[in-house]
């Protein structure tokens, strides 16, 4: 009886130890962490939106004034999200956002001037 109880305790201890080892091992062998702060799902959302909005600068000249206005609105709503990031990310992405918003705004201005000219004619 005493032997059985001791045996059971040993097995439970070994199992607990193995479980802990496996748990820690999996954590240690996980994907390598980048030196940058880990991205939360919210950060991922802003990045997707940023890539989508600022990935269209090549086509800026082909957009209608309505489309350009919408892109500018999306840039403006991205700004507060980027401002919450760490210093490095904030600096990089605010600069990138400024450039892409600036391009859309200027193309929009040009299109408005063109439309006015056409109306006058």
């Amino acid at each position: 009886m005493l032997f059985n109880a001791k045996f059971k305790t040993t097995i439970i201890t070994v199992l607990l130890f193995l479980g802990l080892a496996v748990f820690c091992g999996v954590r240690a062998m996980g994907a390598p962490q980048s030196s940058a702060a880990p991205a939360s799902p919210a950060q991922e959302t802003w990045r997707k939106e940023f890539d989508d909005v600022c990935g269209k600068t090549q086509d800026a000249m082909s957009f209608s004034p309505e489309e350009l206005t919408e892109l500018i609105r999306r840039c403006d709503s991205l700004r507060p999200q980027i401002e919450k990031l760490d210093e490095s990310r904030k600096k990089v992405y605010l600069g990138r956002l400024r450039r892409c918003r600036g391009l859309y705004a200027y193309v929009l201005d040009e299109k408005k001037v063109d439309e006015k000219k056409k109306e006058k004619k």
């Binding site: 980048s34 990089v92 992405y93 200027y106 040009e110």
Partner: protein
């Protein structure tokens, strides 16, 4: 002291006072007008000295060589995607930014490969004494540091030009001698292929000066749209903005690149390139 020596002393005193006055007056005057700048040597052209925080950290300022970097990447990758400012010192790069994988750290991360070698890591969070040599690869202003790339060896097979780096970068790319990449994995946004705007002509204000043929093709392929518009060129449409050579020489409009990195203003006929009609 006799009469003669007294007058000699007084004369010497006057000369001394006159010289002192000249020094006081001419010193600031000459510093205001400035001394003619030495034209940079081919390997120095495009060099940027970055000294925002280096000296505070007891490190030599960073010497950035444009020539080697522009042979690997288009202007857009670094100045739009990575986010370097167009003016020296305008980016406000910190060691922490680099260590986090931004700016220089976007490529100089100890992982990326170039020319069959791993690109050395830029700044790291904890630098040991052994890291000093690695730090000096960039923080090299005023130091004698051997580089992996030798300008003369690099430029030897490339087509030559008269000014700047002494190289025709455009032709070098056309000939496939350099292949500047237009993207950087994980940094560049996947974009549609660029619809290249037409080249156009600009009429100079000075009579008999050949017209400028602006190569939109080359500029957009290397820069994209947002690098130039609206921050450098405020008008998108031709004729919206007017430029003067004085402003360009001061580093505005075309001068942002063509006084610093791209072929310099002394190379007149590369812009004023339309043949004059007899």
């Amino acid at each position: 002291m006799n009469k003669f020596s007294m007058s000699e002393f007084s004369m010497n005193k006057r000369i001394f006072v006159a010289l002192a006055v000249m020094l006081v007056v001419c010193g600031p005057a000459s510093s205001q007008t400035g001394v003619k700048k030495r034209r940079p040597l081919p390997y120095e052209y495009g060099r940027v000295i970055i000294r925002n925080y280096s000296e505070k950290a007891d490190l030599a300022p960073v010497v950035f060589e444009h020539w080697i970097h522009r042979s690997k990447f288009t202007c857009r990758v670094c100045h739009v995607d990575i986010g370097f400012a167009m003016k020296a010192g305008g980016t406000d790069i910190t060691a922490a930014d680099n260590a986090r994988g931004y700016y220089c750290g976007a490529c100089h991360n100890g992982k990326m490969a170039a020319d069959g070698k791993t690109v050395f890591q830029s700044c790291s969070k904890k630098a040991t004494a052994e890291d000093a040599k690695r730090c000096e690869r960039c923080h090299s202003y005023g130091l004698k540091v051997a580089s992996d790339y030798d300008f003369f060896q690099f430029s030897e097979p490339l087509p030559k030009e008269r000014f700047g780096n002494g190289l025709d970068w455009e032709k070098a790319e056309e000939l496939g001698l350099i292949k500047p990449s237009a993207s950087l994995e994980g940094v560049t946004i996947k974009r549609n292929p660029l619809v290249v705007q037409k080249d156009f002509m600009l009429n100079p204000k000075v009579a008999a000066m050949p017209d400028i043929i602006f190569s939109h093709t080359k500029h957009t392929v290397w820069n994209g749209c947002e690098l130039c518009h609206p921050e450098i060129f405020v008008g998108v449409k031709k004729g919206t903005s007017h430029y003067s050579m004085v402003e360009i020489t001061e580093g505005k409009s075309c001068g942002v690149c063509h006084t610093t990195v791209a072929f310099p203003l002394a190379d007149c006929q590369r812009c004023h390139s339309k043949p004059v009609q007899p």
